[in-house]
């Protein structure tokens, strides 16, 4: 090779000549460039050994690498001699610890605060609504719908439920009360709707009459309006004389204590058509009748005899959910929480 030189310049050539005098020069790349190339090649080997890239039996397992002297990444449950070894799991747990450290001051406060106190704190509310969104999507949205917009039942139970599988949580109509503590109680203790079937106590005609009367209360804007409407007078009589008022009240506005529905507003828990109302009255809710409507909210907070939480959600999570649901827009102001503000007035005098 070395005796092949270009005659004009003296630059070494590869020795291959074609078209009489066309030859390939063999100029070396610059020295600094060659140094860079060599250094990169050496670094590749070093990198592969340090990081878990090549299975090495000497490292204990095959996927640890030999580690980096001076690197100290302790991880609970991992042998201390592996502290100098990097793994993706370690990085993950470090990131998680970092996140937990940010959340800790909030979580610690929520643990000892009542839902109403959390609601009064803007910053905590902001925090809670964000983590509440995740909890809600994981646990509640299956029945209550994404964002609490309700889910229509379909398939096997479609006829029986006829309407929402669980109540819409965005409106201001609450069967069991819309104050923050009521919501907390509903989630932790669960709820079971109950309405007896009237197919034996009332005749078909009576049920039809009272269904029309109930529908009129909602559509015409209250019980007074329906009472004045002679078209539904038969239903009014049935409503007053049978056991309807026992649960729904003489004013038909329902009782939060027992979860009976307000019949005068525009919101229907089940189907609001005449046929739907007739079915609800005839077969009841959770009455045991195979045709009855089903309305069950499971118990979300369960404790064993020692008082340890055994359910999927603990008190903190349920507090978050209560605040999150309250903030949907239908939450009712708590008079008790507002009371101290009133008392503060004479003190200021």
């Amino acid at each position: 090779m070395s005796d092949n030189h270009d005659s004009a310049s003296g630059v070494p050539t590869s020795g291959h000549v074609w078209d009489d005098d066309l030859a390939d020069f063999v100029n070396q790349p610059p020295k600094w460039w060659m140094l860079g190339l060599t250094a990169s090649a050496i670094w590749v080997v070093v990198y592969l050994l340090i990081y878990p890239a090549i299975p090495l039996p000497s490292a204990g397992t095959f996927f640890k690498g030999i580690g980096l002297p001076g690197l100290n990444v302790p991880q609970p449950g991992v042998d201390a001699k592996d502290n100098n070894k990097w793994t993706a799991i370690k990085e993950l747990s470090q990131d998680q610890a970092e996140l937990d450290a940010v959340r800790k001051p909030f979580e610690d406060k929520i643990k000892v605060m009542t839902p109403a106190a959390i609601l009064a704190d803007d910053k905590l509310t902001e925090y809670v609504t964000r983590s509440g969104k995740v909890l809600f999507s994981d646990n509640c949205a299956a029945c209550h719908g994404q964002n609490g917009k309700g889910t229509f039942q379909s398939g096997k139970f479609a006829m029986r439920e006829q309407g929402y599988m669980a109540p819409i949580l965005l409106d201001d109509d609450w069967l069991y009360g819309g104050k923050i503590d009521d919501i907390y109680t509903s989630i932790s203790g669960g709820r079971q709707g109950m309405m007896v079937a009237h197919k034996d106590s009332l005749s078909a005609q009576q049920i039809d009459d009272v269904a029309k009367y109930v529908k009129a209360m909602s559509e015409e804007g209250g019980k007074d309006k329906a009472d004045a409407d002679s078209a539904v007078a038969a239903g009014k009589k049935v409503f007053a004389e049978s056991d309807c008022t026992a649960c729904h009240g003489a004013d038909a506005k329902g009782m939060a204590a027992m979860g009976s529905a307000n019949l005068t507003d525009k919101i229907w828990r089940f189907d609001g058509s005449i046929a739907g109302i007739t079915q609800t009255i005839t077969y009841g809710v959770n009455s045991g009748d195979p045709q009855a409507r089903v309305a069950i909210m499971p118990v979300w907070l369960k404790k064993d005899e020692q008082g340890h939480v055994v359910s999927k959600l603990d008190e903190t999570a349920i507090k978050k959910l209560a605040v999150y649901v309250y903030k949907f827009g239908g939450g009712q102001k708590d008079e008790v929480a507002a009371a101290p503000a009133v008392e503060a007035v004479p003190a200021a005098k």
Binding site: D21, N27, N147, K149, L170, D173, K266, I267, G329
Partner: protein, 483 residues
């Protein structure tokens, strides 16, 4: 022999001639350090002035304005402070216009007057100039430097070289510091630096820029221009035969020949082959070979040649700023006769007016409102329709403000639930909150009704922002009855 064969032979000898030319193409791979001579002259003085603009880089960050750093590119907190102006990420589109402006200025200048940036303004040129100036002060003129480089290792050599490298390194460190202080508060940075409290990213920046300066300006020098810089490579497509650049007047200079005392050699050109133009060149090119990659158009060879022409009593300008057209005797067009001038100026003006528009329309509050989509609306127990809106208010001022929400349009009788509560927006931050709008069901006739929200600073009602969005309602079955 036929005429055709003759011609073929002539051609083949021409082709072979091309190969001998490659001696002229000798590539500079940095094996030999270039020690350029420093000669006074017009362009040398100009270069000192243009390069001293970099003093702004070193000391500009210490300028204070209203008690804060005047120019602070606070990347950590995602905001740029330039005197009274604060630029948040939302306005960062202006930076792309600024880049366009700078790129176009570079292109326009290159097409008219070649690599003016390289020769007079480039940091590589400026720092190399500074480094070699120090080298000359310590090691002496280029001859002495060549001798010192070749000399065997001695105590004297070590002392001289070490002094030079120490000063170089000090400048490199100061360069690294000066770069960093544009991005963090300069005063607290020095405090942190002297207490060794720099953050990891500050350390990395300081290290990278110190080493970058030391290696690029101290060792790689013209190799950077030849092999690293992309601009040096693309300039060829921007320059053409109308571009003025330092050029050797071939007609006047050739045939070149050494000057001999007391003799006038017939037919000899003005070039006396004194190599002064090569000696002063910081990138070591011979300008008499024509325009080439290594030429950063700094004009130092013009100074050198002019001084020689003065000595031998010839007119100046054997090497001068000239276009190829001028040298070859073609007609020379004026700047405004080139269509490209207008294209460049057009793009420059567009970018500039965009930046001016952006800076004058920064505003102080920005409002974005996102209507809830799932579900679009909620029917309340009294039959009213409620919409939920997520507000995002950005406060671009440097003070916290409290805003109130109001709405125009929408549904008659609508109520903004809880909107009387003032919302605090911290300065330079965006705050989000929720507003419910409740409207009587009887009044909602359309699926979609236009509504405009407005946030107003409670203390200064002149400061406000609006956003147009919609109020969603149910499909109205009795729409025709209401009409």
């Amino acid at each position: 022999m036929s005429e055709a064969t003759n011609k073929q032979l002539d051609n083949s000898s021409n082709v072979t001639d091309i190969y001998s030319e490659h001696i002229e193409w000798a590539t500079n791979l940095g094996e030999k350090t270039i020690h350029a001579k420093r000669a006074p002259g017009r362009f040398r003085t100009l270069k000192y002035f243009t390069e001293s603009l970099w003093l702004i880089f070193f000391f500009g960050a210490y300028l204070r304005w209203n008690g804060k750093q005047a120019v602070l590119l606070d990347v950590n907190n995602r905001q740029f402070h330039i005197f009274n102006i604060t630029i948040l990420p939302q306005d960062i589109w202006m930076v792309s216009l600024l880049l366009l402006l700078m790129a176009m200025t570079l292109f326009a200048v290159t097409s008219v007057a070649s690599r003016v940036f390289c020769g007079y303004f480039c940091f590589q040129t400026a720092w190399v100039d500074l480094f070699t100036w120090i080298e000359e002060k310590i090691e002496g003129n280029p001859n002495k430097r060549h001798k010192l480089d070749a000399a065997p290792l001695s105590l004297h050599k070590i002392r001289v070289k070490a002094t030079k490298h120490l000063i170089w390194f000090a400048i490199a460190i100061f360069t690294g510091i000066s770069f960093t202080v544009w991005f963090v508060d300069a005063h607290s940075y020095w405090d942190d630096l002297l207490h060794f409290h720099l953050s990891a990213i500050e350390k990395a920046t300081l290290f990278a820029f110190t080493m970058g300066t030391y290696v690029l300006a101290g060792f790689l020098r013209e190799q950077t221009c030849l092999w690293l810089c992309p601009y040096a490579r693309i300039q060829a497509v921007m320059a053409d035969s109308q571009t003025i650049l330092p050029a050797y007047d071939l007609q006047r200079g050739e045939p070149r020949g050494k000057l001999q005392k007391g003799k006038v050699i017939e037919k000899q050109g003005d070039c006396i082959d004194c190599f002064q133009c090569v000696q002063v060149c910081p990138t070591g090119v011979d300008i008499r070979d024509g325009q080439q990659l290594g030429c950063i158009t700094c004009g130092l060879c013009l100074d050198a040649c002019d001084s020689v022409m003065d000595k031998i009593g010839r007119p100046r300008g054997l090497i001068r700023y000239a276009s190829l057209d001028e040298l070859e005797g073609r007609s020379v067009k004026k700047i405004y006769q080139h269509p490209r001038t207008f294209i460049y100026v057009g793009i420059l003006l567009l970018a500039l007016s965009g930046i001016i528009y952006g800076l004058t329309h920064l505003g102080n509050l920005t409002l974005r409102v996102a209507p809830e989509r799932q579900p679009l609306y909620v029917t309340m127990s009294d039959g009213s329709i409620q919409n939920k809106y997520t507000f995002k208010v950005l406060n671009k001022t440097d003070k916290d403000v409290e805003v109130k929400v109001s709405a125009e349009g929408g549904i008659p009788g609508q109520i903004l639930v809880d909107a009387d509560k003032p919302q605090l927006i911290h300065h330079g931050k965006a705050a989000g909150f929720t507003v419910f709008v409740k409207a009587p069901g009887a009044n909602v006739h359309e699926e979609v009704t236009k509504i405009e929200f407005r946030v107003v600073n409670i203390l200064n009602p002149a400061m406000s922002a609006e956003y147009d969005t919609v109020f969603n309602g149910p499909e109205d079955e009795h729409g025709h009855e209401h009409k």
